[in-house]
Every structure is written in C-alpha cells, then in structure tokens.
Assembly symmetry: C2
Homo-oligomer: 154 residues x 2
C-alpha cells in the first residue's frame, strides 16, 4: 500500500480528493496533473505536491471553471508567474457567465413553475404543460441571452 516513503497510490489520492481514479489519469493525459514517479512495476506514486494540486483543480472545477481556466489559474498560482490581476480577469469572466446562466435558469424556473402550478387545480380541458410547448402559445421567449443557444445543455 505504499505506506513507506510517504507516497500515495493512485487510488488513495483519488479517495483523498473525492475523485475517480480514471479522472486522475485523465488529468494526467491532458497535462493538468504532472506525471508522477512510478514503482518498478509501473504504479504511480504521488506526494503532497500532487495532493495539493489536485485539490486546487477540484476546487476550481467545483466552482465551475473550465479545464482550460483551471489550467491558467494553476500557472498564475505559481509564485513566479503569480498575477492577481489575470486571475481576477478569469474569475470575473466566469462570474459573468454564471450570472447569465442564473438569469436564464430563473426565467426557466418561473415558466415551468407557472404551468406546473396551473396543473394542480381541477382538471382542465387542455394540459397546461403541453400547452406551453404547443404552437399557438407565444411564450415570453425562454430567450437565452444569445451568447449561446438553448441554455447550453443547462
């Protein structure tokens, strides 16, 4: 179990970070995680640096940053290339996207909530949910903020 030499096996790192083993290997192939040293038999051995880096990545992903944004943030996190201004730019851009999606989802929520609510009353001739999708209704256009159509797969 690699207890000696203070190294972690891939599965242990995965468990520690709450990530799938395959995800770690994926991060390695796309160059997001560095290739760690190996045992003579080919098993990966990780140390604290890897643990911290993976935690950083997971936190970034958890906040909705794309892989490429996380990659950029990792570079900026290095004291040598550290640039708070650039990091702020990335976060601000992401924040704007989040706010767009928030606006889209809010519109969605009210449209859906309205037609589901109309269903709860006594049986109607027409189904409010299907009506909402039918051709004559002129929806307040669930109209996404254009930058990207149809809520970009939510």
């Amino acid at each position: 179990m690699l207890t000696k030499a203070r190294g972690l096996a891939a599965g242990q790192l995965a468990k520690a970070a709450g990530v799938n083993l395959e995800t770690i290997r994926y991060y390695e192939t796309i160059g997001l995680m560095p290739a760690p040293p190996r045992t003579p038999g080919g098993h990966r051995v990780y140390d604290d640096v890897h643990v911290r880096r993976l935690a950083f990545i997971r936190r970034g992903r958890g906040l909705g940053f794309s892989i490429e944004e996380v990659r950029a943030l990792l570079v900026l996190n290095d004291p040598r290339h550290g640039s708070c201004a650039e990091a702020k730019d990335i976060a601000a851009t992401h924040l704007t996207e989040v706010r767009h999606k928030l606006a889209d989802l809010t519109r969605l929520e009210s449209i859906l909530a309205a037609s589901v609510a109309r269903c709860t009353s006594e049986p109607l001739a027409q189904c409010p949910v299907l009506d909402m999708l039918g051709p004559e209704t002129s929806l307040p256009r669930a109209g996404m903020t254009t930058h990207d159509s149809s809520l970009d797969r939510l």
Copy 2:
C-alpha cells in the same frame, strides 16, 4: 425550391425553426423527427405537421428538457395518449432539477462575486481569487446538492 405542393426543403424548415440543418437530420436519425417523404432526387420534403413537431421540440429543448423528456412529451401530446398527469410529472421533475441548479449557481455566484470584489480594493499580499482555490481555505463548500458532482458542467 419546392414552392409547388406546399412542401418545405430541409433548409427552409431549419430557417423557419431557427435550427441548423444538421440538427434536423440529427433529430431524424435519433427518431425524434419522422423521416419525411423525398423528392426523386432524395431531398427531404416537409409539411406543416413537421413544422409543428419541430417547433414543439425546440420549445421543449429551450425550456431545458432533455431529448428523452421531449420524446415522452411528444407522445403525451398526441390526443390518443394524452395524459396531463404524466406531462405534469415530467415537468415537475424537471422543475426540481432546475431549482437544484439554481441553488448551486446562486451559491457559486456569491462565492465568485465575493472574491472578485475583494480584488478590486488596493493590492493585497495574497490574491483572493487564488486563495479561494488554495488548500487552507475552507470554502463554504460549493457543495452541490449531491445528485451529481461539480454542477454537471454547468
């Protein structure tokens, strides 16, 4: 241009629905749109029924329903199988998901907004954005409502 016989060519249907031509062919291959009749040369010819069906689909997708949900709603929209209760179930389930994502995104927004805002003040020793991702910070856990990790790619 198929002006006779009241038929629409694929590109015309696409333009009318605000959809890519390829999307229509995609919907046909996955069985969401029926295969229309063809000209002797093999070009698709659509009519009003197709136009309405595609409009229904697009509206459903615009409201964030998955392809499979739209498929189910299409069946329920047929007067013979019409069931308002089932349609309501689908919409209610979707509404719940939308609300989860709304909650997640709202949490995200406040975390991001807070660290970006902290950047705007005069230069600090540490970058608030990178701090947010660093190991010692104990974030209010951007903790998604579990049903699915990491905001499911937003």
